[in-house]
Point group: C2
Chain length 260, copies 2
């Protein structure tokens, strides 16, 4: 029987609030078994760009990563945020080790081809992107890998990469060796049946139920690409996908996406 590996992904809000981040990391330290963390960036990188007079450029909600922006996001994600999280996990007795995709060639990406939009130094992942041997070795040594959302192309170029995409790619790649649970952590307790009712958390969503909910417009627009991504991960061999509050990962309230 494959060992369980729980991959947690945290993003925006919680990274901007040191108190909440500390509470999440304390909960994470209590999760039994093998775990892995992927973090996005908070508002810090955008604020730093503004302080330096470099306006963040967004097209369709995606950051355009020119060379100066890549420098700053690499500093922020791989430097400040990643190392702070690692140090706070060490404080909590967890042997965390921070990684960008360049480290140990753990995640190799391809610079996104220029089409209608030139996204700049943004990396896309493929089925072969993840160095599963290295991650397996770290996990078996009792280490918690902590990924920031920076990858590389193997040709010396760092690339900014979506953190949800990284979490899904890791989950899929490690699904061969582990029974992988992919946990997307948010402010809310899960997927809501009624966006105006915080208590309306759906305990479980099958592909059929998701199809119906999506068609009826009940799912918040921002959640649709995340859930599409999550069901694709399930179809690709990931055991379970969970949508939950970052502050309540050890409590039963959450939404579990399942294959059928």
């Amino acid at each position: 029987m494959r060992e369980v590996l729980k991959i947690f992904k945290i993003g925006g809000g919680i990274l901007d609030d040191p108190d909440q981040l500390g509470r999440f990391l304390s909960e994470l330290a209590r999760v039994p078994g093998r775990t892995l963390l992927v973090h996005g960036g908070g508002k810090g990188a955008s604020q730093m760009l503004q302080r330096l007079g470099l306006e963040p450029q967004l097209v369709q909600g995606r950051r355009i990563t020119d060379a100066a922006t890549l420098d700053i996001v690499t500093m922020f994600y791989a430097g400040k945020t990643n190392k702070q999280i690692v140090a706070l996990l060490q404080q909590r007795g967890i042997n965390a080790l921070g990684l960008s995709g360049a480290d140990g060639n753990s995640i190799r990406a391809t610079k996104r081809p220029v089409q209608a939009i030139d996204y700049g130094f943004v990396g896309d992942l493929s089925e072969q992107s993840v160095n599963t041997a290295l991650l397996h070795q770290l996990l078996q040594a009792g280490i918690m890998p902590v990924f920031c959302a920076i990858t590389h192309d193997g040709q010396g170029q760092l690339l900014n990469t979506n953190a949800d995409t990284i979490a899904s790619a890791l989950a899929r790649a490690l699904a061969g060796a582990y029974a992988v649970e992919l946990h997307f952590c948010f402010e809310k307790d899960g997927v809501l049946a009624d966006v105006h009712d915080e208590q309306s958390v759906l305990a479980q969503i099958t592909p059929e139920v998701y199809h119906t909910l999506k068609a009826s417009g009940a799912i918040a627009a921002g959640m649709v690409p995340k859930l599409d991504n999550a069901f694709a991960a399930l179809a690709a061999g990931v055991e379970k996908v969970v949508i939950e509050s970052a502050l309540r990962i050890n409590e039963p309230v959450k939404t579990v996406l399942c294959r059928s």
Copy 2:
């Protein structure tokens, strides 16, 4: 017989010059056997502090690291510089993996006690600072660890730490398992008998010769603490200390410090 491990330390000048850094990394990729790299910070962090209106504070040549400065140096050393070096080594076929001391609890330090000067968030190392088991595992997996000069205290606090000190501490700690060569890389080809003559590289220095040279004032003042540190490492079990040009590590011109 213990395997040879070559630890290289690079600092200031070369980190500020992308062309020279690329040339050094190409030479490093050609060094046979197990290798490990420690890098200091270049001028980038100071320039960033100035752009943000935070004047770098130096006392007796040492940076005073307040909380805002620690944030910036962590971003620069652990983020930008470390990840760029790792990506460039990957390009050169070397499986490099970047580390701060917090990562994998690889180097644990103690915040320097406040005496005449409060250095702020600066870490001092001890005999027990280095996690040799992790480094041994990475080296045996064919990975080149690449350290920036940031450590942690195990209590959630990152600490700015002198890169020469880190290189020496790693060399001493790994001297049990490996025949360690510690290579300090500079602009010059080695220790000069005459500071005005670049050709006067001393091929070898014993403790006795060093004592005489130091007493006569022949050794450049800036080199004295570095050489004191180097001879202390030799006395502590390091096999060989080498002072050489970062651009000529695979050529015979260099200064070798030896025990006798």
